[in-house]
């Protein structure tokens, strides 16, 4: 903090902000309170009006929209907070905003926060437990990721307010993807999430790798979006509507052989969504993009984007493969998806073995975890696979955030993420080494961690469906996974390293602690999470 000079208004303002820090926090809290009350009052006022536009707006408030609106408004607020010289406020505000949204989306599920006439359903968003649970996983992950970004607050060239704002906008897209009831919503959600991610991938402007990754992601993502849209058009041509109910009615009324256009549309849409969760053979962008993007946003991409994508896949596939499976189109497509699952598991796990960069290994491990998740989607049993997916996304997200937090602390400003950086970490920083170990154990699926039960539930759901071959492949590939996850642990505890001692910021410590506690708690008592929501 430079001493304030009388000639420089900026410095004076700076000093001023710091002096009244407690008061400004109070103001912020008051601001949130007023904002919340204002929205409630506004929506209650709207409830009395009978005009169609306002009626629809009122429905938006009811149908689970409060969290979307809050995130959007908070994102814009964040942009304005960027004018403040005190950058810490932006971080705390973003975390507070995300936390409020988390609480609101939880309260809103039962319609207790604002009650409206449910018959005036806009029909665009689902308000069920499934979408709320996915929203919970994603918002919790976002809350864990934000504290990892403290290094941006000191970096003069970084623009944290914009980063947080775009992250919040992307969360809007992610929430839309897991709770859509109309394909338009799915498309807009995918676009919001993708465009935010393209931008954030390229946010490290002076790094050539980041630029390359952003361009690559943008081009490939645009093609995937094009395929998704093409499929959507074909599906619309066959069904005549965008709503999920209409599609489900159409599928139950028509056989696959009689409706080739709808099936082609389904396949192309599935390809478009599978691209987003980087399932093989649509995974080629993943390693380069994950490696080139700044680690913070890689963590975001490999957890939240993946959760949103798998949520969208689950909802979409359920339209074409509902119970009883014989009456739906399940027999027509499950073999194709099974091939995708096997390819994803094999390519993700086996290629990860050959990586020399820890971050690239995490990218391939992300591909392999997409395979496990897709396996549970393929099992498609209404209770056990939904439970398995919810549990797995939480376990995977928490462990991955911890892994990326550790990586960011270890790699620091170096633009490479070699395994060698981890050598001897067990002696120089035992806490960091222990938390990376726990996250690696969880990702590998060792008992007493969340990852073990995640894999167990996935395998059980697939077993229930009778796809034994898939289980065998997945168990083999999980064994391969143990090899490359343990490479890090071996490097940390058994190799001698002459790296400098690593400094860990308090934000990272908090994230790692919470993530590890969650990992172990879910590993000891998995019912904790399952009974809470499902």
């Amino acid at each position: 903090m430079p001493p304030p000079t009388k000639n420089c208004p900026v410095a004076v303002k700076n000093n001023h902000v710091q002096n009244i820090k407690p008061a400004s926090f109070l103001d912020l809290r008051v601001l949130f309170f007023i904002l919340q009350k204002a929205i409630i009052i506004l929506s209650k006022l709207l409830a009395f009006s009978k005009k169609s536009y306002l009626c629809k707006l009122r429905n938006i408030f009811h149908q689970k929209m409060l969290s979307l609106i809050l995130l959007s408004v908070f994102g814009i607020t964040n942009l304005f907070l960027g004018f403040l010289r005190q950058r810490n406020i932006v971080l705390f505000a973003s975390m507070a905003f995300t936390f409020i949204t988390l609480v609101v989306s939880w309260l809103d599920m039962n319609g207790t926060l604002i009650t409206f006439d449910a018959s005036l359903n806009g029909g665009m968003m689902a308000n069920d437990k499934l979408s709320t649970s996915f929203a919970f996983v994603m918002l919790l992950t976002a809350l864990l990721i934000f504290p990892l970004s403290t290094h941006y607050l000191k970096d003069k060239e970084a623009q944290p307010a914009e980063y947080y704002a775009i992250l919040m906008f992307s969360l809007v897209g992610a929430l839309m993807m897991v709770s859509y009831k109309n394909l338009i919503m799915l498309f807009v959600g995918v676009e919001i999430l993708s465009i935010s991610m393209y931008v954030l991938t390229g946010s490290d402007k002076h790094n050539v790798k980041s630029n390359e990754a952003a361009l690559k992601y943008f081009l490939m993502g645009s093609f995937a979006t094009g395929i998704l849209l093409f499929g959507m058009a074909l599906l619309y041509g066959a069904v005549g509507a965008f709503t999920t109910e209409a599609i489900q009615t159409y599928v139950s009324a028509n056989k696959v052989v009689d409706s080739p256009m709808a099936f082609l549309g389904f396949s192309m849409m599935l390809i478009g969504i599978l691209f987003k969760i980087s399932a093989a053979p649509f995974h080629f962008w993943t390693p380069d993009v994950y490696e080139g993007a700044p680690s913070l946003f890689t963590a975001f991409m490999s957890t939240i984007v993946k959760t949103a994508g798998i949520g969208a896949t689950l909802k979409f596939v359920t339209l074409f493969g509902f119970i009883p499976l014989g009456a739906s189109w399940y027999p027509a497509w499950y073999k194709g998806v099974a091939i995708v699952v096997i390819l994803t598991l094999a390519i993700g796990n086996i290629t990860a073995v050959y990586q020399s960069s820890f971050k690239r290994m995490l990218a391939y491990s992300g591909i392999s975890h997409a395979g496990y998740l897709l396996m549970a989607v393929l099992a498609l049993s209404p209770v056990s696979s939904v439970k398995a997916i919810l549990f797995y996304t939480l376990a995977y997200s928490v462990a991955t955030v911890a892994a990326f937090g550790g990586l960011m602390a270890v790699a620091g400003n170096k633009r490479k993420e070699e395994y060698a950086y981890f050598n001897g970490l067990g002696k120089t920083n035992p806490f960091l080494a222990l938390s990376i170990t726990i996250s690696m154990l969880s990702l590998a699926g060792i008992p007493l961690t969340a990852g073990f039960f995640g894999k167990l539930f996935v395998f059980l759901s697939v077993f229930e469906r009778g796809l034994y071959f898939l289980v065998v492949v997945a168990v083999l590939m999980a064994a391969v996974g143990v090899y490359y996850y343990f490479r890090v642990i071996i490097a940390m505890y058994m190799r001698e390293g002459n790296n400098e001692p690593v400094q860990v910021s308090s934000g990272t410590i908090a994230t790692l602690l919470i993530a590890n506690i969650l990992t172990i708690a879910l590993g000891i008592a998995p019912d904790l999470w399952l009974n809470w929501f499902m």
Binding site: K56, F169, I184, V188, V199, L200, K205, P260, M261, L264
Partner: protein
């Protein structure tokens, strides 16, 4: 008459779309793309969707194409500067693209019930008044959320495009 016009426009659209891909000069590609947009506009007019037709002209043929031409001139692309792909890549691309074409043609050729439903058809459905009603009643939520999409894109563009201290002026 309308049927002949439909087939003429469709053939022209497909032809110009192919020419976009096949022509060597990027400026020619853009011109063919404009021709294709005009064909699409003709289709919209045939469907009595006047608003869509005009918007298609203004937004695509107008704004976006100007942007395209600007970028092409900015990059100063030359035909001889273009490096060819390695033959293996070409082979793989032809095989996979051809497979997709074969699958799509074989599937879509089986579609039988493609006649339009005449009963209950409203010829005024594409007019701007009805479009507005649909947009602000049934699709209000996605319509509003699209603004978040544009906001995110705008913030991102400003963030990425902002000149850093020490960068040169153009």
């Amino acid at each position: 008459m309308a049927v002949q016009l439909f087939y003429f426009l469709s053939a022209l659209a497909v032809l110009s779309a192919l020419m976009v891909v096949f022509s060597r000069n990027p400026v020619h590609s853009v011109l063919y793309l404009i021709l294709m947009f005009f064909c699409l506009t003709g289709h919209y007019i045939l469907l009595n969707a006047q608003f869509l037709a005009i918007v298609n002209i203004i937004v695509y043929a107008g704004a976006i194409m100007v942007l395209f031409l600007f970028v092409i001139m900015f990059l100063n692309l030359k035909t001889d500067a273009e490096k060819g792909q390695p033959p293996l890549m070409k082979f793989i691309a032809v095989i996979s693209g051809g497979l997709l074409l074969v699958v799509m043609v074989s599937i879509l050729s089986k579609v039988s019930n493609m006649e339009a439903k005449k009963e209950g058809f409203d010829s005024q459905i594409g007019l701007v008044e009805n479009l507005g009603k649909v947009l602000y009643k049934d699709y209000l939520l996605p319509f509003e959320l699209a603004s978040i999409l544009f906001l995110a894109a705008m913030v991102g563009a400003v963030m990425l495009g902002k000149r850093e201290a020490g960068e040169r002026h153009f």
